[in-house]
Amino acid sequence: MKEYKIYRILLGEETAHSSDNKISDFQSARELLEIQPEPGIVLLDGLKGKKTSDRLKVFWELVELRESVEFCCAPIYLSRTMQQIDILVDGITGNIEERLPEAISILEKSVRISRDKLQDNHNLRMLAYMYVRGEEYSLSPVCSPFSQWIYSYPHMALLLDSSTKASKILRPEDLSGLERLRSFRFDTEMIMALRAVSFLEDHGYIAQDALVDRVRKCPKCNTGHLNYVDICPNCGSIDFNKKLMIHCFTCGHVAPDSDFRKNMSFVCPKCNTVLRHLGSDYDHPLESHECNNCGSKFIEPDVKADCLFCKTRSVPSDLTVVNIYSYKLSEKGSAAVRTGTMQMEVQLFDGRNNLKFNYFCSIVEWMREYRKRYSDEIFTMIGIKFSNLYEVETSVGEELYNKIMDEIIFRIRSMVRTTDITTSSAPDTFWILLPRTIFDNSKILAERIEQLNNMLEMKSENKIEITAKCFQIPTEDNEISAEKYLELFAEEL
């Protein structure tokens, strides 16, 4: 087993862990990062954690470590409990030796990950963070009742791109008092982490593990602090009273009890009978309410949800229902970590003519046989590949990316005839089978597809690179299967 370094960051005098020649001490995360360390285990020590300022100090060291490419996935331990910080690290231990097996297993797994790929890809860092912690690792949401996001994923928040991190601007030393505490809550980052997690889920890199909770959020501002109020259905006022209705047995008159009140007894306003005993002189046919604002009478008040942040009033059924899950790394996510690339999945084709890849291959096989017999039955294939979807998505943002892709997909689909058959062999690679089409005609079509990105007015670095090429399977050769050919063609794309 390889020996790994243990780096101790000493933030104060109160060490819980004894010095050891295996451990190298540093004053701060910055000092540690300056020596460009090799992979290792980090132990944060020296503070008692009783004061908020202690915990803040530890927190910001942790932010700095997780931001760095060296320690974004590394095993990090605390020597003492720091309360709310505890969930952000791999454990609390007074004796790091005890934690070595699990820490080394994390480090062993990170050996396979290339640091260069992690350098600019923060989403990949998140996947790597989960990957190195093993298959059993589950990314759990954390509830913070006073935050507007209520549930988020602080582990992901720590790994966000530092250029977008609010913490870069709001360093703790620049802040004081309450503001410092607020920054500790990490609000902006937590919202970004939520988006990052939903991005990773949408693209299949992580998969839902357990349903942890369900919260309802304001449809306008998306915060979850709602006040459910019962209101007058007519004017919406919350100022209404329960009205007991009285039914006089003598004459059958029904009216609110206030109409019957006369000093300290009930007297029927219609027949003047004194109503003395519930059940024998009168009863309550129903319970109703009267609004003190508009005076309207109603049986059931409406229930509405008032957003405590933006004051929007919503019908409970209109609230955004959000299921909160814990997540596991998916097969695709773990492949992305191993290869260091994140591919974007595109649903280019749909409908009846879009086949699964192995069916598509069988049809190609059949066409090839068909052509052997009837030599005039020519068919060609076009391969299409999008090569920089992920980069474009990260640079232009999700919204614009989706617009661009919608446009491209729409145009490609309009070029496909109803007799053409389509498939996809990889998340970013697509095939069109064009029966009764000669090579030259297909070539024109392929060129038109390649030109598509030029039609969109985009800066050159944001352009989606589309490669489209025309292929023909040689009929003479029976040795190589259609699938193999497609593989070979894909390499040319």
Binding site: K242, R261, N263, M264, S265, F266, V274, L275, R276, H277, L278, G279, S280
Partner: protein
């Protein structure tokens, strides 16, 4: 009717009148003249006095003390819900706390559940609180009341029965008197809820109206209320604390009345026990005649037990004050215990002394005298007091049966007294289990 006609036409009837009015009166019941009539006149004057006072009573002042209602429940079942509902819906701005004490809740699970079901209902009302207290072991009514007293937080404590429901102004009527600091307790007025169920029930409704609603109003005018109803008593909490609650044993209502009287008598403090005919509770009376007789045996037995055994030292005018002493002698001892004996003895004497026709005619005269007195009183009382005059007047047709009914009740009472004096019948009371009554020091 045939008997009456025969009697009227009989040759002995003229004999009655020949002897002259004086002798006649002397012969039929001297105690009517010396006892029943003065009492009736006293009550009538009292009722008229009350009616006049009531007319000039004026608006209620904003005094609304908090009220705790100890509801003693045993096997009332769903009826307890009526009680709780009628208390919840009182027209009273002050706090009303209901303590439903379920005696023997393990056995009376249905009553316990019925009371519990009301929690949600009560919570919808402002200033109303329901506490259901299960007493798993049966301990009797007194133990329920005393347990309830521990939970009671109100200035006014009401001892109520789980089978009694109340008019919606009951609390308001009952509490208003406590503004006067000398008022120690108020006795509530009971009416028969199931009056139309049977003839026996109708007759009891008349009896309740005269002997409770009217008589007690009359006596109350002269501050001579001699009993705070057990099914419906209203106390100032501080007074209950002074006499340390109820005592084990039977007829705890009379017992606590006597103890309150004793207490105030001993310390020569001015105090009053009132009766309010408008603080009304409705309770179920036995619907069968047999049930009625059984209930009365229990009550009357309890009564003589109390007078003869437990409270003998209390019969002291210095403690009770002369009017109260006389009243207890008259209404308690005399009318309820001595009178049955006298009536019985007189009737026997009458039939032994005179020929049967003569004595029958004499009894008929007695009957007619009583009926006349009854009709006059009933009409006065309905006119002055009844809050449901139509209902009460509809029972006028039953009045001719009342003297016979009362006679039967008194003979029954005689049996009860004899039973108590000879066999300590109060230990058989159904109000408390034997292990409680056996331990009682009296």
């Amino acid at each position: 009717m045939e008997v009456f006609e025969e009697l009227l036409s009989s040759e002995y009837l003229p004999l009655l009148f020949e002897e002259g009015a004086g002798t006649l009166l002397l012969k039929f019941m001297p105690f009517v003249l010396f006892f029943e009539l003065p009492l009736a006149i006293l009550v009538i004057i009292g009722v008229i006095k009350y009616t006049v006072d009531r007319r000039y009573e004026g608006e209620r002042r904003p005094y609304f003390p908090s009220v705790s209602c100890i509801i003693t429940c045993y096997s009332e079942g769903r009826d307890v819900q009526k009680t709780i509902m009628s208390l919840t819906e009182q027209i009273y701005p002050g706090k009303i706390e209901m303590l439903a004490m379920i005696d023997g809740a393990a056995k009376n699970k249905f009553t316990y559940d019925s009371a519990h079901e009301m929690s949600h209902y009560v919570s919808g009302f402002e200033n109303r609180k329901l506490l259901v207290v299960p007493k798993w072991q049966r301990g009797g009514r007194v133990s329920s009341l005393n347990t309830g007293l521990n939970f009671a937080s109100g200035e006014i404590v009401m001892a109520l029965d789980g089978d009694t429901s109340f008019d919606n102004n009951m609390v308001e009527r009952a509490t208003r008197h406590f503004e006067d600091p000398t008022v120690a307790a108020v006795s509530g007025c009971l009416r028969v809820r199931n009056a139309d169920e049977s003839l026996t029930a109708s007759l009891q409704a008349i009896e309740y109206f005269i002997s409770i609603q009217a008589s007690k109003t009359g006596l109350s005018s002269f501050n001579m209320v001699n009993n705070i109803s057990g099914a419906f008593g209203v106390f100032r909490k501080s007074v209950l604390d002074l006499v340390e609650g109820w005592d084990a044993g039977t007829a705890e209502d009379l017992d606590i009345t006597l103890r309150i009287k004793n207490y105030f008598g001993r310390y020569k403090k001015e105090f009053r026990i009132l009766f309010d005919p408008e603080a009304i509770g409705h309770t179920d009376a036995p619907a069968t005649f047999k049930g009625f007789l059984k209930q009365r045996i229990r009550w009357d037995g309890d009564l003589s037990y109390l007078y003869f055994r437990k409270h003998r030292p209390s019969f002291n005018p210095k403690l009770l004050g002369w009017p109260n002493f006389l009243m207890i002698i008259l209404t308690g001892l005399f009318s309820q215990i001595v009178m049955p004996f006298l009536i019985f003895a007189y009737t026997v004497w009458l039939f032994v002394r005179y020929p049967i026709e003569y004595s029958s005619a004499l009894l008929l005269m007695v009957y007619l005298f009583y009926l006349l007195l009854l009709v006059v009183m009933y009409l006065i009382f309905v006119g002055c007091l009844s809050e449901r005059p139509k209902e009460d007047l509809s029972r006028l047709c039953f009045l001719p049966l009342m003297p016979i009914f009362a006679f039967a009740a008194r003979m029954n009472s005689l049996v009860a007294t004899v039973w108590e004096l000879t066999a300590s019948g109060h230990r058989d009371t159904s109000m408390a289990p034997w292990w409680v009554t056996q331990k009682n020091k009296f």
